[in-house]
Amino acid sequence: MPTEFAITYSTQNEYESLVNGAFWQFLIIPEENDTQQLLDWEMKSNIQLDQNESVNGLGFKSIHAHTKEKFTKADFKASFRVQKKSSNPFDFIPNQNWQADLEEIQSIAFRTVNEIFLRKTRFTELPSDFTTIFPFNANKNVFENLMALNHWVFVHLFFKVGVTHVDTPLQEIIEKRHGVCQDFTHLFLAIARANHIPARYVSGYLHQGNGYFGDSQMHAWAEAYVPQAGWVGFDPTNDILVANDHIKICHGLDYSDCSPLKGVVYSSGGNKTSHSIEVRSSQQ
């Protein structure tokens, strides 16, 4: 049964001094894929903009907005209607063991195609003291190992807003054991990649009202490659597999590929920014 979601993304930006010009990129449009269909969307602002659809470096739809007037306050409100088909991440026949999975994952053809999602980035490189923090079990297959990893990250880290920021290094997150969905995801990616499993950072929306962690803001989770199944979504912040409640926007190597709002603002002085998300569903 498909579910229809109504998603609202809003952001308020206030600047100390007059802004002469700005160029923003929003990565907030839900991706269209096998399970997601974008019915319609719009974005409004309190200031006059030249606004158009574009793509980011990995080809995901983005919105470019270029100001036409000077301002000190810029508010944006975007709304999306998405239809999502239900899916079952367990609906495949996995290989019996790690060895069979390894044969596929270690082949040169496979590694060549997926090489970029095996890379260590500044967010996903395991600090040298922690390379064996979660060893994979050679008696289990990749899927079982990844589920165990998902659970382990969920248990190891405590969800806490405001203690980490976008640039907090993985070392600090592992040591202090707290963070937000972005940090949970980077830790999952770092360990999966260190075990030769291609894994990518996903940014998206999470259905609200189920008591999930991280549902009031833009959410993040991981997709990892599972032999026989393909890319499977893991949400370590909530210790669940991604199924019907996650609406994907885009993926990338890490947060820096997926950050929802990037921009260049020609102004001096500080600014205040706030974001909020609303996701409502209606079963059809």
């Binding site: 158009n52 270029h66 890379r119």
Partner: protein, 490 residues
């Protein structure tokens, strides 16, 4: 012809016969191609020469042809030392250099096309996957992007040396933003001003046609659907070490020189701000590094680039020359696979030799390198401009130990090559008021367009001004010479 002992210019020329001198044979006689030149120079005394050399230098200074040397503590503005005694390359030798440079550029272009699409060369195990996965210059954003005209490395600077065996060897391929071409042209101008009577006796190719060929190449890679492309040169600004060159090339091509703030992107097209309103830009010869091109896609703190530029490029609405992500192929580790890369894509043997290279990332080669640091040149794979290079036979015991430690720490970061004996050329040395042998190399400039190619007939002969020094980069205090490529005798 024997050198005339009364020829005061070269009477005290200290010729080391173990070095390969491009002008004099081992017995002291002059090579045929230089005979006329020596005769003409012989009419002058050393004092005449000093005067002319000073005149040429001040002409550089007056034209503002300077560059900056970066150092940990300070940055210095310098004139590129110029030597009035030219280097001559005959037709037959040049043909090898020219066809070899084109072959390398074409192979590198196909390599870039492949590694940003199907990566066949890796699946076929000709080059290892690690070459890409460990390269910081590989831009995943370039995957499946099709640059207009199918060209990645529009401009390549290939550094070539003549070894004591008389053959040419390629030292490295520079395909990010190779610089130096403006010096080639200025050297020629300066030499002609000082010694027109001499230049006139040789039938050498012009070098001033570079800009018009560059413009043709840039126009050939215009975006689809554009008839008369609007080309611009983008510079990081006047504080960049190659700013003179950026402004020279823009002026010589008759196109605008812009900075990032002069451009903006609207609806995935690039526009230039002009007093008559926005003007669409189709081809950008960019002299800013990948990381600074677009703050939305690369370094977010870049103020040199243009927000939205990469999206416009991905959509095929603007051409960037060179393409972003070419740096992955001028990595010194890729260099070592060049013979295989040429064979793989072109089915040809390399025309120009490669210097044999040891990869420190391979355990047994690492072992050899660590044991033979004193006999090798050890270089970091990702630094340009001669920084971080150590030449084994010039190192003290402590320095050798230091190099070993560095290499052991990050083997992937280093390659090593046998120490080559670069050819030498008589070069006027200010402090000694006489000519001495100095090591030289040659940077060639190759242009690749849609269905066309061009090699500048000349190039930048760089001189290592310190006696015995093998590093000729301008940032390491090198000088340069005008380089004459002779036309075929009719």
């Amino acid at each position: 012809m024997k050198t005339d002992p009364t020829n005061s210019l070269f009477s005290s020329y200290p010729q080391k016969t173990e070095l390969f001198d491009e002008v004099f044979e081992k017995d002291g006689s002059t090579k045929a191609i230089y005979e006329k030149l020596l005769c003409l120079y012989g009419e002058h005394s050393i004092m005449d020469y000093v005067n002319l050399n000073n005149k040429a230098k001040s002409s550089f200074f007056n034209q503002g042809i300077t560059f900056q040397v970066y150092d940990k503590e300070k940055t210095q503005e310098k004139i590129f030392p110029f030597d009035l005694f030219p280097r001559i390359i005959d037709t037959d030798e040049w043909d090898i250099i020219e066809s070899g440079a084109i072959q390398r550029s074409r192979a590198l272009n196909l390599f870039l096309q492949d590694i940003y699409h199907d990566k066949k060369i890796i699946k076929d195990k000709v080059v290892p996957l690690e070459l890409l996965s460990s390269s910081a210059n590989y831009l995943h954003q370039m995957m499946d992007v099709n640059p207009p005209g199918g060209i990645y490395n529009h401009i390549s600077g290939t550094d070539i040396i003549k070894h004591s065996d008389g053959n040419y060897y390629v030292l490295e391929d520079n395909i990010r933003c190779p610089s130096g071409v403006s010096y080639v042209i200025c050297n020629r101008t300066a030499l002609k001003r000082a010694l027109f009577g001499v230049f006139n006796h040789y039938n050498a190719y012009t070098v001033t046609d570079y800009a018009e060929n560059l413009l043709q190449i840039l126009e050939s890679v215009k975006p689809h659907g554009v008839d008369n492309p609007n080309c611009v040169v983008i510079t990081p600004g006047m504080f960049n070490s190659a700013y003179y060159e950026h402004s020279y090339l823009a002026k010589a091509m008759g196109v605008e020189l812009v900075e990032g703030r002069d451009l903006f992107v609207e609806n995935n097209f690039v526009y230039m701000k002009t007093i008559n309103g926005p003007e669409k830009v189709d081809v950008i010869y960019r002299r800013i590094d990948d990381a600074f091109l677009d703050p939305l896609e690369f370094r977010p703190d870049s103020t040199l680039g243009v927000p939205g530029l990469f999206a416009a490029y991905q959509k095929g609405n603007v051409c960037l020359a060179n393409a972003p992500g070419t740096g992955v192929a001028d990595d010194k580790a890729v260099y070592t696979y060049m013979p295989d890369i040429i064979k793989y894509y072109l089915g040809e043997d390399p025309i120009l030799n490669n210097v044999h290279t040891y990869h420190c990332s391979r355990p047994n080669e690492l072992k050899y390198v660590l044991e033979n640091v004193d006999k090798l040149v050890v270089k970091p794979v990702d630094e340009a401009g001669g920084y971080g290079i150590s030449i084994g036979n010039k190192l003290s015991k402590a320095e050798i130990k230091q190099v070993q430690e560095q290499v052991k720490k990050e083997p992937r970061k280093y390659v090593a090559q046998s120490i080559l004996s670069l050819s030498v050329h008589p070069t006027y040395i200010d402090e000694k008021e006489s000519f001495e042998q100095r090591h030289i190399d040659l940077r060639t400039f190759t242009l690749l367009g849609k269905d066309s190619e061009f090699v500048l007939r000349g190039g930048l002969t760089r001189v290592a001004l310190q006696e015995g020094n093998l590093i000729v980069n301008s940032s390491q205090g090198g000088g340069s010479k005008d380089t004459w490529v002779l036309k075929k005798d009719e």
